[in-house]
């Protein structure tokens, strides 16, 4: 209580120090006046009485100081004084201040970002009540290896869980009366929300009691985010009927904000009971097929008295029963439990390892930054050794001086820390809303919370103390008489120190990063302009799934043809083609085994190759910009009544047909023995990803091998926006209930370039960090070297040394380290880019631009880092310097 009171008094006096001072002043004045009154009564004149009263009172300044101490305000007074002094000192050397703050901003910001991600994905429990009792049930090495009947058996027969829920992830077209859109849905068991103990935000959620066999629960629960963006927070949505893949479903309610399912990085739009799977997919059998392991994840809430080990044993006893009863359908492997949120061990392990590694790395960066700033600080302390010595000689205590130095370093680190924190919050917010693949609701929910703020502030304080400690020994050892007498010319070590090694390593790492990021950027630029085997510019992509839109297999080809004809009629459209799945579209293309025409035994081991396979319409080659080298493209007559034909690429021709010029007219065989005649030859291209080696590819006519998934390519030089609107309205006329996704092909390729872009960006960021570290490192060393040898430099100048010689003497050592480190880094960097070339297309280190760029970058870095110390060395005035000593 007492300490609390005194603390309150300190706080109050910190915020109103002048109040206390005024009050104290007035009280002392009142005292003296009263004393003077008494003295006046003894017969003294007023002015004489006042003079006597003041003398009797004693040393007013001394007592005032004591009063401050007694009232508990001393600490903050001193702090304020130190802060003011530090600010003045720091503002006087802006180069140092900016370097230090920027370095700390980067280093602490990096730590805050990495910790923010770690916190959100690994440390923070799932956003559901009592998340610590929730476990993902996995079978064997794969999380997603349960069939629905397996789940029902496990749920019924286990004795360890309060309840077990299951879900699968799928996509449907949602139609609320106007323009239907694709939604991602969790198809869940009825008890899903109850197992997680989730309460509705609006309306109600569905329960196990809503399920009464197949297609008995046509209900849908909206995620808060989807309700917010697509229903504009309309509370009247409850009870409304929407269509999912043309089947009516009733909206029951809205899930609470922040709940998007049990997989952190996958934001589901809606939740639907899995018993209605047949309506959503058109597949009658899969729900009851014990061999179809298509459940995405099984989540159980452990009973309070059961340990995870007991639960695993229990699950495996159920498993052995299942294996006995259904030996054919049940896979190998045993049941294990994992933490929910990151799709069990599948992502949990890698994510954890990756983030821990990153955390370690950023911690090292911060440590290196502290070491560099420490040496910068030591250089400044050396500069100020005369000032410190004078203060010591005048009776200031060493504690007081150290306290002042610490105030300075902590002030710097707090400013850097706050700046770093603000930057990291902005970055984390952007990261949270970022969706790297437009077609998939994949995101990284990493909004920062109090933990992140706390870590950033603690890191700032710790690093402030860390680099503030470096000059302490110097101050403690300082002998005021010696320094005042002799000046600051100490011996500057000639041998290789720990600090030198550290600096060379930093510079080398920085050079490696700069080299690799330049290689990556060049590769990325080249891959943007390379030949894909199609032309993404001036082409629009449209994708739709006709089966989920309710078309039966017989009706699909006719519908596709109607769509192509309708689009072709739009003014300004050059050509239209369809393909079952476009090249370079993640996650990858379809493939099929082929055999040479002479192969009799169609065993998979005898296959000639496994080329990429595309089912295309007659107009596809023209629309996609794929050049036809020989033969013909398909026509609408290449249908089921005509002989089987194909168009192949050059690689296919040379590898399987044995000849490029004579490819047209030759035959090859499919797995089922069908002979296919090659009618056309097209150029090679990229199919799976940009860095793949040249692959064979074959194209089949749409009418001979139908596909329900349809991607239409529309080539036109019209503006994409207007063209998109026109395409939508034309197709709406044919079928208003079809889901249409339309975007430019070049935008769609963003997903393909994602890995190389990511690699480039992260290398760039790391390179920036490395550069910053090297700058502070070299700056610190150069500044230290110059200030230690200022007197020597002065004498050299007085003796007539040239500027070049002075610079050489002052900066030779840090520059030698820079050259040594850069050379090592460049060599290592060139070696490292071999690895990089598997991620970034056409990344080659044998590129004069890259080599030149690295040299320029490292020289610039050296120039920036040594600029201030060099200026200082050159501006030494020997007269003043020698007089000072």
């Amino acid at each position: 209580m007492k300490t609390l009171d005194s603390f309150r008094a300190r706080i109050a006096s910190f915020f109103h120090p002048e109040d206390l001072r005024d009050e104290m002043e007035e009280e002392l004045r009142s005292h003296i006046a009263h004393r003077a009154d008494d003295l006046e009564r003894t017969g003294l004149r007023r002015d004489e009485a006042e003079r006597r009263a003041r003398i009797e009172f004693g040393g007013r300044e001394k007592y005032k100081e004591e009063i401050h101490q007694a009232a508990g305000t001393h600490f903050f007074e001193t702090l304020l004084e130190d802060l003011r002094y530090s600010l003045r000192v720091l503002l006087k050397s802006p180069g140092f201040t900016i370097t230090a703050v920027l370095t700390l901003t980067l280093a602490i910001g990096a730590n805050a970002v990495v910790f923010g991600v770690l916190n959100a994905l690994v440390l923070r429990p799932l956003n559901v009540p009592e998340a610590e009792r929730l476990f993902v049930v996995q079978h064997g090495s794969d999380v997603a290896s349960h069939s629905y009947p397996d789940y029902l058996d496990l749920r019924q027969r286990n004795r360890s869980f309060d309840d077990v829920a299951v879900f699968a992830i799928s996509q449907s077209g949602l139609d609320e009366g106007k323009d239907p859109t694709n939604v991602w849905e969790y198809e869940t068991s009825g008890n899903y929300f109850d197992t997680l103990r989730i309460q509705p935000y609006l309306g109600r959620l569905f329960h196990a009691s809503d399920e009464h066999g197949p297609n008995s629960a046509p209900y849908v629960v909206l995620s808060y985010a989807y309700w917010h963006t697509h229903f504009q927070d309309d509370r009247g949505v409850v009870g409304r009927v929407v269509r999912l893949n043309r089947h009516p479903f009733t909206v029951l309610g809205v899930a609470p904000p922040g709940f998007q399912g049990t997989v952190l990085f996958f934001a589901s739009d809606i939740f639907v009971p899995i018993v209605n799977h047949e309506q959503l997919s058109g597949d009658k059998l899969i729900l009851n097929a014990r061999g179809s392991h298509w459940m995405f994840e099984m989540v159980g809430r452990l009973k309070p008295e059961v340990t995870p080990m007991q639960a695993i044993a229990d699950l495996n006893s159920v498993d052995s029963y299942l294996k006995k009863s259904y030996p054919k359908e049940e896979g190998n492997g045993t049941y294990t439990l994992a933490r929910p949120g990151l799709h069990g061990d599948y992502l949990n392990g890698p994510t954890r390892a990756f983030l821990t590694g990153l955390m370690l790395l950023s911690g090292l960066i911060l440590l290196a930054a502290c070491a560099n700033l420490g040496s910068l600080f030591a250089a400044r302390a050396a500069d100020r050794s005369r000032e410190v010595a004078l203060r010591l000689a005048l009776g200031s205590s060493r504690n007081r001086i150290l306290r002042q130095l610490f105030t300075e370093s902590v002030l710097l680190s707090l400013v850097g820390g706050v700046a770093g924190l603000v930057a990291s919050i902005l970055l984390l917010r952007r990261l949270s809303v970022w969706q790297p693949f437009p077609r998939f609701p994949l995101h990284v929910p990493v909004s920062p919370d109090a933990n992140v703020y706390l870590v950033a502030v603690v890191l700032a304080l710790v690093s402030g103390v860390l680099f503030g400690i470096v000059p302490i020994r110097q101050v403690l050892r300082a002998n005021p008489y010696e320094i005042v007498k002799a000046g600051s010319a100490g011996a500057f070590g000639r041998r290789m120190t720990m600090r030198d090694v550290l600096l060379v390593v930093q510079i080398a790492i920085c050079a490696v990063l700069v080299t690799s990021s330049m290689v990556a950027v060049r590769g990325l630029m080249r891959s943007m302009h390379s030949n894909f085997g199609f032309e993404p510019r001036n082409a629009m992509l449209l994708d739709t799934d006709l089966t989920t839109a309710g078309y039966s297999a017989e009706k699909v080809p006719a519908m596709q043809r109607r769509m192509i004809d309708a689009l072709q009629a739009i003014p300004g459209v050059d050509s239209v083609g369809s393909v079952n799945y476009p090249p370079l579209e993640p996650p990858g293309t379809w493939q099929g085994l082929v055999y040479t025409d002479t192969t009799e035994d169609l065993n998979p081991s005898n296959a000639a190759a496994e080329p990429n396979m595309f089912n295309v319409s007659p107009g596809y080659f023209r629309a996609s910009g794929t050049s036809l080298l020989a033969g013909r493209a398909f026509t609408w007559h290449d249908d089921t009544n005509a002989p089987r034909v194909a168009v192949v690429n050059r690689e296919f021709a040379s590898k399987i047909l044995g000849s490029v010029p004579d490819a047209v007219g030759r035959y090859f065989k499919l797995q089922d023995g069908t002979r296919v005649r090659v009618v056309g030859l097209v150029e090679d291209g990229k199919y799976g990803n940009l860095t793949e080696a040249q692959k064979p590819a074959m194209f089949f006519p749409l009418l001979q091998s139908p596909a329900s998934w349809t991607w239409l390519v529309v080539r036109s030089s019209r503006d994409p926006q207007g063209l998109g609107v026109a395409m939508r309205s034309v197709l709406r006329d044919i079928d208003p209930g079809m889901v249409l996704a339309i975007r430019p092909w070049s935008a769609e390729l963003g997903g393909t370039l994602f890995p190389s872009r990511m690699a480039t960006v992260s290398l760039g960021v790391l390179g920036l960090m490395g550069g910053m570290l090297s700058i502070t490192g070299i700056f610190g060393m150069a500044a230290y070297s110059v200030s230690k040898r200022l007197r020597e430099l002065g004498i050299r100048i007085a003796l007539g040394a040239k500027r070049k010689e002075v610079l050489q003497a002052a900066l030779g050592r840090p520059l030698r380290l820079l050259v040594f480190g850069s050379a090592a880094g460049l060599l290592l960097g060139l070696l490292a880019t071999r690895v990089l070339s598997t991620i970034v297309y056409q990344a080659t280190p044998r590129d004069p631009l890259v080599l030149g760029g690295v040299v320029v970058a490292m020289s610039l870095l050296g120039l920036v880092a040594t600029w201030i110390p060099a200026q200082r060395a050159l501006s030494v005035n020997p007269l003043i310097l020698l007089r000072e000593e």
Binding site: K2, D5, S6, A9, E23, M24, E26, E27, L28, S30, H31, A33, H34, R35, D37, E56, F57, G58, G59, R60, K62, Y63, E66, I67, Q69, A70, A71, G72
Partner: protein, 113 residues
């Protein structure tokens, strides 16, 4: 003047509490009161009173408020809080014990010279 005694460390606070226990006083009044109740036997430099007063306020033993003095001047008056009154009686008792013990020790005649 020379027959005035130096204060022992820590005793000023006790004297202040005692002086104020008889009724609210301003700083100068406290000084006069101490002189009065100690027959002017103690030497206290006037300014030395104030750090003690601020310390006692901070410890919650005294509370202070501004008022008008008998000389018709603005002055800050101090009075005991409940905690202050309790502290005064504790300190008085312990001082008395100490004084008795020391007095006894000093008045003891050595048995052998």
């Amino acid at each position: 003047m020379t027959d005035q005694a130096q204060l022992l460390p820590g005793t000023l606070d006790l004297l202040i509490l005692r002086a104020v226990s008889l009724g609210p006083l301003h700083g100068y009044g406290i000084l006069l009161r101490i002189g009065q109740i100690s027959d002017n036997a103690l030497l206290i430099e006037q300014g030395a009173l104030y750090p003690g007063l601020f310390r006692l306020v901070r410890q919650g033993l005294l509370k202070a408020s501004w008022g008008t003095s008998e000389n018709n001047r603005r002055a800050k008056f101090y009075e005991l809080t409940v905690a202050g009154r309790k502290r005064l009686s504790e300190e008085t008792a312990s001082w008395n014990r100490l004084a008795t013990a020391i007095a006894a020790a000093l008045s003891q005649q050595p048995e052998e010279a």
